[in-house]
């Protein structure tokens, strides 16, 4: 029993992946974002675009929300580099280099917390945000400088490969 407990520690596993768990709305968001650049909830009653996903429209409380391809442009609000994480995948990545995150105000309204690919951006810089199904098969949002071409899946995949978000973080001789 003691041995089993020891072996179940995330830090001893060979492969560590990003957090997979999502709420029901979060899982729907992941499913809706498999195709395209960025799909957000649109309210069919009042036209409100919202993120994070919720069951009702945050503006009119209407219940008919549909996912639609949305303009992916936005403005960088704040950024920071993480040197500490609670999750084994990021702990392993942070050992190599701090992990950059940012908050972005999308032109369609909502504020999104995102993975940041570029370190030399300033507050107020224009960015594009696209969705990506990570190594846990849950969707996360990635921000790139506005000049980056992300029109095709191949171009977006190249960005992901650049920050190695497509792979689990591995440990030699793990369980």
């Amino acid at each position: 029993m003691r041995k089993r407990l020891k072996l179940s520690r995330p830090s001893l596993r060979t492969r560590a992946r990003p957090p997979k768990h999502r709420s029901v709305c979060g899982s729907q968001f992941s499913a809706a974002n498999l195709p395209g650049i960025l799909q957000l909830q649109n309210c069919t009653d009042c036209g409100h675009v919202q993120y994070p996903p919720a069951e009702l429209c945050g503006a009119c409380l209407g219940s008919t929300l549909i996912y639609k391809e949305t303009a992916c442009t936005g403005t960088l609000l704040a950024q920071s580099q993480l040197h500490h994480s609670l999750w084994e995948y990021f702990k392993r990545r942070i050992k190599r280099a701090p992990w950059p995150i940012a908050s972005v105000q999308l032109d369609v309204g909502p504020v999104a917390i995102v993975h940041l690919t570029e370190l030399d951006l300033d507050t107020g810089d224009r960015v594009k945000v696209f969705s990506h199904s990570d190594a846990s098969r849950s969707v996360v949002l990635i921000a790139v400088p506005a000049a980056t071409d992300i029109t095709t899946p191949e171009l977006r995949q190249a960005v992901i490969v650049g920050i190695q978000l497509d792979k689990s973080a591995e440990r030699l001789k793990g369980v």
Partner: protein, 394 residues
Amino acid sequence: MKDYNGVVLTTPISMGYARQSPHGAAWFVGSVLREMISAAGLTKKDINGFSVSSFSLGIDSAVALTQHFGLCVRWLEQANVGGVSGILALRRAARAVQCGDADIVACIGGDGAAHRSFEHTAAHFSNWSTDAAFPYGAAGPNGPFSLITAHYMERYQAQREDFARICLDQRYNANHFPGALLGHKKLSLSDYLNARPIAGPLHLFDCVMPCAGGEGFLVMSEERARQLKLPAVKILAADECHNAHADDPVQDRGGWTQYIEGLYNRAAVGPEDVDFLQTYDDYPVISMLQMEDLGFCGKGEAPEFVGHTDMRFDGSGSGLNKLPHNTSGGQLSCGQAGAAAGFLGVTESLRQLTGQSQQNQVSNARLGLVSGYGMVNYDRGICTAAAMLQGVDR
């Protein structure tokens, strides 16, 4: 808003602080209750109102605890609102006593700290946090607050040295408060500045240490407290506002702005009259937002304000303006005991205003302002509350 006349707060208890604990939340809540009725000279039968705040009760709720503890109550509340739970509890309990729904209300916050429990709380804090904040680096609250801090520093030209003023003076206060988990350690400016980085501008001493602990107090009529010969504190005014300024892209103010003027008017005092201030200090920038929004200085002026203000309990610092702040060391030096952290400022204020503080007593403390902030549902804390408290003449 109606006044809180005739109601008092008594019997502050802070107990059981530990970095890790084998005990669950019920142990902390129940232990605070035991200490409280013993300190007040009451029995369980005298308690007919019960207010509980905790993150780690799991599938149990406040009513399950009444059965655990053998309590029979006619008024029950569960306020799981983290950093404002103490002030919310006192506001609601005071109304219950004032209206005769309950005679004596025990307000308690308590949380355990099992191995890796903080990781679990952070990963499952709220749906929006799980879906849209935690997956981005899994930094827990450090993630959103590093963004809030970075934005504040850029917008208002704040420096790490400004945040250090708050952290250093609080550690000095904690050095004189035996209950503080980090109170045995001194903290110097170079320790602070050379600490290891955690997230963006946040370094080790900007972050609270999650821990276990329990906090609580009793709410009863002024007359009952006099009969029991309990030192007591009156509520001059109290207010709350949640999810204010929702359209601000990054948080640099809170709901305090919506009611602070009315709160001072009802209390018939101003910020210059208070003998101490207790803010919710999960990160030093949040204490700065409170100093600004509670009217101690203008928006963006907190870095300058803390530069010339001595925030030690005994006024022994170099600043010319004296404002004892987080006189027990706050969460930055006591540790953050889950929902009990929302009670920390209230219990410390009660000890100060009733002369029950020991080494860290503010001399002649008569009037204190306590403020709460909490619940990072997604990218910011959305709860705020504040209460002006005054010691009752004995």
